[in-house]
Amino acid sequence: MRRVAVVGAGMTKFIHRALETPKELSWLAAKAALDSAEMKLDQVDCVVEGTAPDAFDGVHMNGEYLSDGCGAWKKPYLRCYVGGGTGVYALAQGWFHIASGLFDTALVVCEEKMSTCLPHPQAAFLTIFDNITEQPLKPNLLWIFALEMNRYMSVHGYSVEDIAKVSVKNKRNALGHPSAQLGAELTVKDVLASEIMAWPVHRLMVSPTSDGAAAVLLASEEVAKRVTNKPVWVQGVGWCLDSAYWTNRDLYYPDYVEKAAWMAYRMAGIREPRKEINLAEPYDPFAYKELHHLEGLQLAPKGQAPRLLADGVFDRDGDLPTCPSGGLLGVGNPIAAAGMMKLCELFWQLRGEAGPRQVPGRPRRGVAQAWGDLMQVGTVVVMGVN
């Protein structure tokens, strides 16, 4: 397999409702990624697109609709989709194209416009539950997160307060992000005082619905070395799905994230993740999810992530900064674009270009992860400077 580098990245603002159409948002992000690498569309061999359920836009075959905005005119083009895991998985999809030797460059664009769906995009989530045995109970997407969070807290003996610290950290980190929708200086008390949506989930522990897009440009080693002196290498990719019978599993631990992580780590030659990874962008659509995923990613022992968080290990200046971007809780959560935003963040952090968000100590390797479908998919990408 050939080595693959990220050579450019770009994104839009993440906002509650954007005037721009999904196509226009895609174009803004894709163009920004190309511009950052000082490359033109005719230097792009193929295009990969990631976007989540068609139900948000109400546009069937959304991938085809978006293609022009992604720069796919008369190019090999492929949409990929694994629910919330799409944004990180899309880079793996682009990686195949180049690692296989088929192409030298790939533009990977992720877009989501959730605001279109009325009265609230939440209602579109009803149809992800089992159509016959679960939908008649009128489930709410918050349910599964609340059920999983309660199980996680209960098995390990943590309180809502322990979890709330994730919201405080990520929303504070987001203050340094120019695209952020919900950067804020908050206290644990503020988080606990916010409305209870579905106990134990409070409003400030939930990422917002957002409109936005993010993109990266991938290149083969030969092209990468020609176009930049700071390529960031894709060292490993991994993904894994657990059973859709989600009520038959113990939700306290994401086995599928562990499997996906080890797939990526093996490829990257990582044996001891906690010693060999300098920063992480775990998927944080809900506050507890970051901790849950850090354990799945082997970056905290099972049940220990809340303790490490309280010790400051995951702060921007801690031993292992997590979500230095501000994460989904702070920057926003346009589903597929949010995962891609995490990869953009690794790119900027590893190049030392993250400005006020820059983690100290010249990080050499980072991991990003996303999650989705019916509590069942983990997607992981490891990137590094060599």
């Binding site: 918050l142 322990d162 010693k275 309280a310």
Partner: protein, 196 residues
């Protein structure tokens, strides 16, 4: 240095802009209907719900009794082997108190969704349902519950033929309740990787 990303674009639309028609929108209300075939396993599951009982499928190869039932085992990938009538009682594996409906209306009285591990099925085999006839404050993980069935003539062959699950009185929760005291942070930030 400002830091990447620079020059980010995207134009916010405010609710007032929408309400007052300052931006153009067009609307679409899809009208589509589906008739989902229930298949063999779930067809029987629904039939038995109408009869007021829960039924599972056993995989002899994996020694698992699975609910909801399925005609093939997703682990060994062979056919499942037999129907097993299981109990309509179980244990709360996890729960939530939801103050938001599926279409994001606010609720004064919370819905109490729960994963309930069904007695007679393999350990950990739960189904999604709701709890009722219980004070939200009294719900615990580990609580023993039983199905409250709708009257026979009102059942339609749906998971909602069980109105809700209610606590079985006199059966104390098996598990201790969630810790309420937050974990206390160490006074100093850990500086060394070795401490982990």
């Amino acid at each position: 240095m400002a830091g990447q990303p620079t020059n980010v674009r995207g134009t916010p639309v405010r609710s007032a802009d929408l309400k007052k028609g300052r931006v153009f929108t067009t609307t679409y209300v899809p009208r589509i209907q589906y008739a989902w075939d229930t298949g063999q396993a779930i067809g029987r599951y629904l039939e038995e719900l109408k009869n007021g009982r829960l039924i599972a499928r056993r995989c002899n190869n994996c020694q698992r009794i699975m609910i909801p039932p399925r005609m093939f085992c997703e682990r060994c990938f062979g056919p499942t082997h037999a129907w097993v009538v299981v109990k309509d009682t179980g244990t709360v594996n996890t729960f939530s108190l939801s103050y938001v409906s599926w279409d994001v209306r606010r609720l004064k009285k919370p819905e109490i969704p729960a994963v309930i591990e069904i007695d007679g099925a393999s350990k950990g085999m739960g189904i999604l349902h709701v709890l009722g006839n219980v004070s939200p404050k009294a719900v615990r993980i580990g609580m023993k519950v039983r199905a409250v069935w709708k009257p026979a003539q009102q059942r339609t062959g749906s998971i909602t033929d069980i109105a809700y699950f209610e606590p079985i009185k006199g059966k104390a929760p098996a598990a201790k309740r969630t810790a309420k005291k937050p974990f206390k942070a160490k006074a100093k930030k850990s500086k060394s990787r070795k401490r982990r």
